[in-house]
């Protein structure tokens, strides 16, 4: 079979079949390559789009990136229904089967160790947003009567915002402490740029938690119970995800801030 090999994940052999109509990136069905008892799930993709130069260009095209990311996630989701996949980073492409086998062999120990660590676990995403605008909205509408009025209004707004930020930081810290003591592991992602979020407010916590699948309900309840009457605060839960944020070993997380125990090692 010709074409480059776009690899989604590595996993252990699984019994159930994937849905037959499942398509991955480039509208290609996912296939399996077995090597030393591990399986790489990949699609054969055209060189015209996935060789280095076209791929680099495509990655900066939002529509292409979005479509590819969703197709990648679709395959990971399908795998998550039947096994615990170890997801690869977006756009990991090999020349051919032989290059793919070479990689699997070189990383065999790591794959086995990590698949053992992640077996039966899922990732939950929790984000906290603060919306500092209500404080500003309390200011009387219309033009201030004088320069002094204007300055006083500004001062009050600034103080209100400082209080909101402080409350948000404390709230996020407490929530993270509670959730990471329940979860097996946690990671702090960079807060999302507010221009990218589709809800209002500024992202102050963007965390991922590794939770045994069977404890998920309890984890979700914990997030729910963390409800607080702190005004202007919003908590968003996403998941369950494949354990994207927990594939690295200790010391490999690079720029991602690290929390919890670092994920090593039984």
């Amino acid at each position: 079979m010709s074409g480059l090999r776009y690899v989604y994940a590595v996993c252990r052999p699984f019994r159930s079949a994937l849905q037959t109509q499942l398509t991955g990136v480039a509208a290609q069905p996912p296939r399996q390559l077995t090597h030393h008892g591990l399986i790489a799930v990949y699609s054969a993709v055209p060189e015209a789009d996935f060789a280095e130069e076209p791929l680099r260009a495509h990655l900066e095209d939002l529509d292409w990136l979005s479509e590819t990311a969703r197709a990648h996630q679709g395959v990971i989701d399908a795998l998550t229904a039947v096994t615990t996949p170890l997801p690869l980073r977006l756009a990991t492409v090999f020349r051919d089967d032989s290059a793919l086998r070479t990689m699997m062999e070189a990383r065999e120990e790591y794959f086995r160790r990590t698949l053992d660590r992640l077996a039966g676990r899922v990732e939950w995403g929790v984000k906290v947003y603060v919306d500092p605008r209500p404080a500003a909205a309390e200011a009387p509408a219309g033009k201030p009567a004088s320069g002094r009025d204007y300055l006083r209004q500004r001062r009050m707004q600034t103080r209100g915002q400082e209080r909101t930020w402080q409350a948000a930081a404390e709230f996020a810290e407490n929530l993270h402490a509670t959730l990471s003591s329940f979860a097996e592991d946690s990671r702090l992602h960079h807060p999302q740029n507010s221009a990218l979020a589709d809800g209002p407010g500024q992202n102050v916590l963007n965390a991922a938690y590794l939770v045994p699948r069977g404890d998920s309900e309890e984890f979700v309840e914990l997030v729910d119970r963390a409800k607080d009457d702190t005004p202007g605060m919003r908590v968003e839960l996403t998941g369950p995800w494949a354990a994207y944020s927990f594939t690295g070993e200790e010391g490999e997380e690079g720029e991602e801030g690290e929390a919890g125990t670092g994920g090593e090692e039984r």
Partner: protein
């Protein structure tokens, strides 16, 4: 405070995981994603796609 559970995964959450998470392979692959300017991808591409008139909550009242 509200807890929101989304059905449709937001692209920004997806990219948090697909571009920052997942196993990074080096070696015989066509392109290491780390070679691409990720900041350019996940910020510029996305920001240019959202309405430029979204106000910053911290805009000074000048």
């Amino acid at each position: 405070m509200t807890v929101v559970e989304r059905r449709e995964v937001a692209l920004v959450d997806l990219l948090d995981r697909l571009l920052a998470g997942g196993v990074v392979i080096t070696g015989d692959i066509t392109l290491r994603i780390a070679d691409v300017d990720l900041v350019r991808i996940d910020l510029n591409a996305l920001i240019s796609s959202v309405n430029e008139n979204v106000p910053s909550p911290f805009q000074e009242l000048l």
